[in-house]
């Protein structure tokens, strides 16, 4: 089920106001893990948050790697979609989507149901992630 805004999902209740300003992914953004890995899908009382963006600027767009804090652990992840409108002819998603990844680039999960933008094929290092993706946009 999709992450509805303000709905109780993954048993965390966020009464804090949700910022709508910079809608790409930076430090402390709450993200939504999109693959079927156990780490990403088991409920926890805190949502997965970004703690570092591997980028010159601290702002992550589609195709950037970030460090995620999930269930008290640090895990790398790949951004597959964000709420910020990008260049025209690219998709804009209603939630910040992320796929968990190992240090060598192998995805942790085995299936990705949500649509993935085609632009990820440009960088050759994500072919394994794209291989487990079902839908493309």
């Amino acid at each position: 089920q999709g992450l509805l805004r303000r709905s109780v999902s993954h048993s965390f209740l966020s009464f804090a106001s949700i910022t709508g300003a910079c809608r790409a992914i930076q430090k402390l953004t709450r993200v939504r893990v999109v693959d079927n890995s156990t780490l990403g899908n088991t409920p926890y009382h805190r949502p997965p948050k970004c703690i570092h963006v591997y980028n010159k600027t601290g702002v992550g767009k589609v195709g950037d790697t970030i460090l995620l804090a999930i269930k008290g652990e640090k895990k790398k992840a790949l951004i597959v979609g964000h709420k910020m409108p990008g260049p025209t002819m690219t998709a804009r998603f209603d939630s910040n989507n992320v796929v968990l990844i190992e240090d060598n680039g192998n995805p942790v999960g085995t299936r990705i149901k949500t649509p993935i933008p085609y632009i990820l094929r440009q960088k050759g290092e994500f072919s394994k992630v794209l291989a487990i993706a079902r839908n493309f946009v």
């Binding site: 089920q1 999709g2 002819m89 209603d94 085609y118 440009q122 946009v137």
Partner: protein, 245 residues
């Protein structure tokens, strides 16, 4: 002439055929795409004239159908990173923006519980085909509130068959009142600034009255904001129809 009875019958001329001149019907209803109308400003009209020439050139090669906000479109784009080098996206048009060659339209669809919006440029050479799958206008010009509406209002089947076009007559208006997710929304759609008629507000009366505090009833009478486009539209329509013959 002898009838079957054998008696002579008075010659009955055959009924005259009724010629429905479809071209005339089509011409009576004319549609000028909104990106042809230049915005109000102090720019040299030569710039808009050159842009219009380029737009007409592109339209001669590639058919851009008539569509409004609320239509369900399927767009095939050329993509170097796609599987068959072409990607198809189906969605409802929620906004048409921009003027001239940079005119854009945003399509929205919900795929696998994930809302996706694609902003396409009308005159981008990467676009290979635009098909209108469902023809219906909505009550508003801008359907951005669909982002805060229940996802069922933005879901459209990707393999939808195009609904057959009735006639070259009016486009039907769908008076659907959309139900929203619980507040807060991305924008305060109940405020009169957005002037939305297509939402079924379940808010208490108090909130609706409070929203009316931000109404600006003097705006519609403001003469400096008037921009009468009828004459400009007539000129541009003549230009465009001549260019596209």
């Amino acid at each position: 002439r002898v009838s079957s009875d054998g008696k002579l019958e008075k010659f009955q001329p055959p009924p005259k055929p009724v010629i429905i001149d479809k071209q005339k019907q089509r011409e009576e209803r004319r549609f000028l795409s909104p990106e042809f109308i230049p915005p109000r400003g102090r720019t040299d009209p030569l710039k808009f004239y050159i842009e219009r020439k380029d737009m007409i050139q592109r339209r001669k090669v590639f058919n851009i159908p008539e569509f409004y906000v609320g239509h369900v479109l399927a767009v095939t784009t050329a993509d170097p990173y796609a599987n068959e080098k072409a990607s198809r996206f189906v969605g409802i048009c929620i906004q048409r923006g921009g003027k001239g060659l940079g005119a854009t339209f945003v399509l929205r669809n919900v795929i696998e519980d994930q809302g996706v919006e694609m902003c396409y440029e009308l005159y981008n050479p990467r676009i290979q085909a635009i098909e209108v799958l469902k023809l219906e206008k909505r009550l508003d010009d801008n359907l951005m509130y669909l982002r805060d509406a229940l996802p069922e209002y933005s879901t459209f089947d990707v393999n939808m068959k195009p609904v057959s076009r009735l006639d070259h007559e009016e486009v039907p208006v769908n008076k659907l009142q959309v139900r929203m997710k619980p507040k807060p929304w991305s924008k305060r759609w109940e405020r009169p600034k957005y002037n939305i008629k297509g939402i079924k507000f379940d808010l208490p009366e108090k909130k609706m009255k409070e929203a009316q505090k931000w109404s600006q009833p003097w705006l519609e009478f403001d003469m400096l904001r008037e921009y009468d486009t009828s004459k400009i539209e007539d000129k541009i329509w003549k230009e465009v129809s001549e260019g596209l013959k």
